[in-house]
């Protein structure tokens, strides 16, 4: 990778199996929000993990 500014640097690929309709809705939401899919999924998972951790306290 010769480019600086590549937002994928330092990230890893994470493959999971999801229902096709959920994938479609997540992709459409990313487009509506003007963000990329990785950022959207990262945000959603981080928020979920935070809520889970808070629920355990």
């Amino acid at each position: 990778m010769t480019s600086t500014g590549d937002k994928r640097v330092g990230k890893v690929q994470f493959n999971v199996y999801l229902p096709p309709d959920l994938v479609r809705r997540i992709k459409h939401l990313a487009i509506d929000k003007g963000t990329n899919l990785s950022v959207l999924v990262e945000t959603a998972l981080t928020e979920y993990m935070t809520r889970q951790a808070e629920g355990e306290q």
Binding site: T2, S3, D6, R8, K27, H28
Partner: protein
């Protein structure tokens, strides 16, 4: 056969002016994103995409053009690339669709997008017939080296040897675009450095004098040059980058005008 179309991507802060410039050459817009950060332009052979540099997740710089392609099926293409021993082949999802990336023989990351099946967030533009023009991004490297084998794995065969330093690769008919491999001598190649950097180049069926007049009337200053590939026009585009338009060649590739 990998069902691939040559589709270089220009990162730009001037999508409107770049679109108008390419329309002067004869390309037609066929798809744009709702937010206008992506415009796909069709030639009779191949495509050119305009991508907002400000919205680039991969560090695209204004004026930088990267070699890229559109494929019918990225899973099938990934299998073909794996079979050919191409490093770092990965299929992934993006909001706009699916893509496969790999490392090209120059060590750069190459992105190949799957043809969009879901146009959510995009606008299909009423198709008009593009001019008889073929997109031919120029990658500056040895045309006899490993890049030639890589292009063959992608389904592009050598269709014209201009000289020992310059070979054009494409499919029969040229209606999926061409990739020119050219060994550059003397100074820095006319590209902004970055992954898979290419110079925008076209082959036009239109007489170059006519095209030069069109460009001049559009406010550009085309320069007529004679090179080893014959007569060509060189013109500075709205991003300040040199674009080549080559004259028709004997033994035309363009058998049909469909993309």
């Amino acid at each position: 056969m990998t069902g691939i179309v040559v589709r270089p991507v220009r990162f730009t802060d001037n999508i409107g002016p770049m679109r108008a410039f390419l329309e002067l050459l004869g390309l037609v817009a066929r798809l744009e994103s709702g937010q206008g950060a992506w415009v796909e332009m069709a030639a009779a052979g191949g495509l050119v995409s305009l991508h907002s540099a400000a919205g680039s997740d991969t560090g695209g710089l204004p004026g930088q053009t990267r070699l890229s392609f559109e494929a019918d099926d990225v899973d099938q293409l990934a299998a073909v690339l794996d079979e050919a021993g191409t490093p770092e082949v990965r299929v992934y999802d993006e909001a706009y669709g699916r893509a496969v990336t790999c490392q090209d023989p120059l060590g750069d990351l190459l992105v190949i997008d799957e043809a969009k099946a879901d146009l959510y967030g995009y606008r299909n533009i009423a198709p008009t017939e593009p001019a008889a023009l073929i997109a031919e991004p120029l990658r500056f490297c040895d045309p006899g080296g490993p890049y030639a084998r890589f292009l063959r794995a992608l389904g592009l065969e050598p269709v014209r040897t201009v000289s020992p330093h310059y070979v054009k690769f494409g499919t029969a008919g040229g209606d999926r675009g061409l990739v020119g491999l050219q060994r550059h001598s003397g100074g820095h190649p006319p590209v902004i450095d970055g992954p898979a950097a290419v110079q925008l180049c076209f082959e036009s069926d239109k007489p170059l004098t006519e095209l030069a007049n069109t460009l001049t009337q559009g406010g550009f200053t085309p320069e007529s040059i004679t090179s080893e590939s014959g007569r060509l026009l060189s013109v500075i585009d709205p991003d300040g980058q040199p674009v080549q338009i080559q004259a028709p060649v004997p033994g035309r590739y363009l058998a049909s005008s469909s993309v």
